[in-house]
């Protein structure tokens, strides 16, 4: 199946309550597939093509306020339009899933694959002190799996989750293992799970619930901020996810996520064949970032190459983790151009291996 189609399949099988979106390449197949699947006739899931991205994210805001599992998907320029709403959702401590199948920017940019929204996904995007849980799938299977994982984490911590994919994985086809469909949550289950905050209809025995991101008293707002920050620290402590390949004896380390990590896995194979001990660390959560394992590997390797389809964004987090102990360089292509494994291998030799001998 195609990466984008799999998002639709995963949403329905997970028991998602609603999808609200607006078409944009390279992720239009998400909504197209949902419209073909007609889940409103089977699970009762709502699928709405809104009039704009701004409308979509505000529909998500509304659904999330009711404790429903709701999501949207878009690509880079569309996500920028949603950022105000995402900030409001984060400010109101609501869970939801946002999928970004990235394309080249800035502006309308290109429609080809890119990873240039790393800063936007991990450092905010919208205004205010907030974080999204940012998941970076590197295969069609993970695009499927991370719909469920994204919702689960979002509801566990009451924060929005973002799946940061890119045009390569969105457009490619691979084998996928699907799991059994789960029914949507019943009103009783939502009451049980989200009863202390969600808008489920005020009962006599409880106070009204207020969902808002506005607080006029700065001291009260600071309490809200502190609560959010405490949640973020908890997420940092519990939810860092990453994968290592051939790092045990590595002299050199590649750090890459998403489709770049697939390309770098090939680079590891090529480098090992050529006699270089190269390993790969793939952040699966971009926020919280796996700084600790990278710091540990910095004590072992001679140099690190951060590989991304952008001008160098994740490298800032890698350098923070490494703290100057070994050279950390960036290699990337921009504008929707995708490097081949051979290009990355050459860059690794030129920027790291030859300079650290």
């Amino acid at each position: 199946m195609k990466g984008n189609e799999v998002i639709a399949e995963a949403a329905v099988r997970y028991g998602c309550d609603g999808y609200f979106g607006y078409p944009i390449t390279p992720q239009s197949e998400v909504m197209e597939s949902l419209m073909e699947m007609k889940p409103w006739e089977t699970t009762g899931m709502v699928v709405v093509q809104a009039e704009s991205e701004v409308a979509s994210i505000n529909m998500v805001y509304g659904g999330a306020a009711c404790g429903k599992r709701v999501m949207t998907s878009s690509s880079s320029p569309g996500i920028s339009l949603m950022c105000e709403g995402i900030s409001y959702i984060a400010g109101a401590s609501l869970p939801c899933l946002i999928v970004n199948v990235q394309r080249g920017g800035p502006g309308l940019g290109t429609i080809q694959p890119s990873q240039s929204d790393y800063f936007q996904a991990t450092k905010g995007g919208g205004h205010g002190d907030y974080h999204l849980i940012a998941l970076a799938p590197n295969s069609v299977q993970e695009m499927y799996d991370f719909v469920g994982l994204g919702f689960d984490l979002a509801f566990k911590y009451r924060v929005p989750a973002m799946m940061l994919a890119d045009g390569v994985i969105g457009q490619m086809m691979e084998k996928v293992v699907l799991d059994d469909p789960r029914p949507r949550r019943t009103d009783e289950q939502i009451e049980q799970e989200c009863g202390d905050w969600a808008l489920t209809g005020k009962k006599k025995e409880r106070q009204r619930h207020v969902i808002t991101s506005l607080e006029l008293d700065p001291y009260a707002q600071e309490v809200v901020n502190e609560k959010l920050q405490a949640t973020y620290r908890l997420i940092e402590a519990n939810e860092v996810r990453y994968q290592t390949t051939a790092t045990e004896d590595a002299d050199y380390l590649l750090v890459a996520y998403g489709s770049s990590a697939r390309i770098c896995a090939k680079v590891v194979e090529m480098a090992r064949e050529a006699g270089y001990k190269v390993g790969l660390l793939r952040p699966i959560t971009l926020w919280p970032f796996p700084g600790k394992p990278i710091a540990e590997l910095a004590g072992q390797v001679k140099g690190i190459l951060s590989v991304e389809l952008n001008s160098g964004q994740m490298i800032e987090d890698v350098r923070l983790a490494v703290n100057g102990r070994v050279p950390v360089e960036h290699y990337g292509r921009m504008g929707g151009v995708v490097y081949s494994p051979g290009e990355v291998f050459e860059a690794l030799k030129e920027k790291i291996i030859n300079k650290t001998k």
Binding site: I111, G167, M173, K175, R262, I263, K266, S340, P341
Partner: protein
């Protein structure tokens, strides 16, 4: 076994669907597969290409810089991909519309007059299945049986009436491919 293949030509020639049939055929034989299209504002008449990988091992990168086989269906693609065939690899092309023929001597080169043959058969839409059959003759990465299953899987139900013709074209493609001397 790992096959890294690029199919490149005009949009509308069935480049992407040929790749899709092959990818599904690989799945039928329990291989790992990846199908990565060039996508963009590329419609009928523009260039289109797809990278298909079939392997008995997990596929790391879906993107390649060198290919075991290139199937080339127009001049622009010839200019771009001839040099990207691995040494000892295979290049298959339809001579129709090719003005500069491949010049490499370190690869095996095959031709198939599929445009002409499809026209002779009175159905230009058999073009891509003829080529697919030709490819599988020189590079039998999947069996014909799996290919027929892959074909069925990749076609929507309403097109299933064309299955016999397409199966016949796959078989016939294997007969009309020629190794260039």
């Amino acid at each position: 076994m790992t096959e890294e293949l690029i199919i490149a030509g005009f949009g509308g020639q069935g480049v992407l669907s040929m790749g899709k049939i092959l990818a599904y055929s690989g799945v039928m034989q329990d291989y790992e597969v990846s199908w990565m299209p060039s996508y963009g504002p590329e419609m009928r008449g523009g260039t289109a290409n797809v990278t298909v990988m079939i392997s008995d091992k997990p596929i790391s990168s879906p993107i390649a810089h060198e290919f075991d086989t290139a199937i080339i269906l127009n001049q622009q693609s010839m200019d771009k991909f001839e040099s990207q065939v691995k040494k000892g690899g295979i290049l298959i092309y339809d001579t129709n519309g090719i003005t500069r023929h491949p010049s490499r001597t370190d690869i095996r080169i095959y031709t198939i007059d599929a445009t002409e043959e499809a026209a002779r058969l009175g159905n230009p839409r058999l073009f891509n299945t003829l080529i697919l059959g030709a490819y599988l003759k020189v590079r039998p990465v999947v069996t014909l049986e799996s290919t027929y299953k892959g074909l069925k899987k990749s076609l929507p139900e309403r097109a299933h009436k064309t299955l016999p013709q397409n199966e016949e074209a796959i078989r016939h493609g294997g007969e009309i491919i020629r190794e260039r001397a």
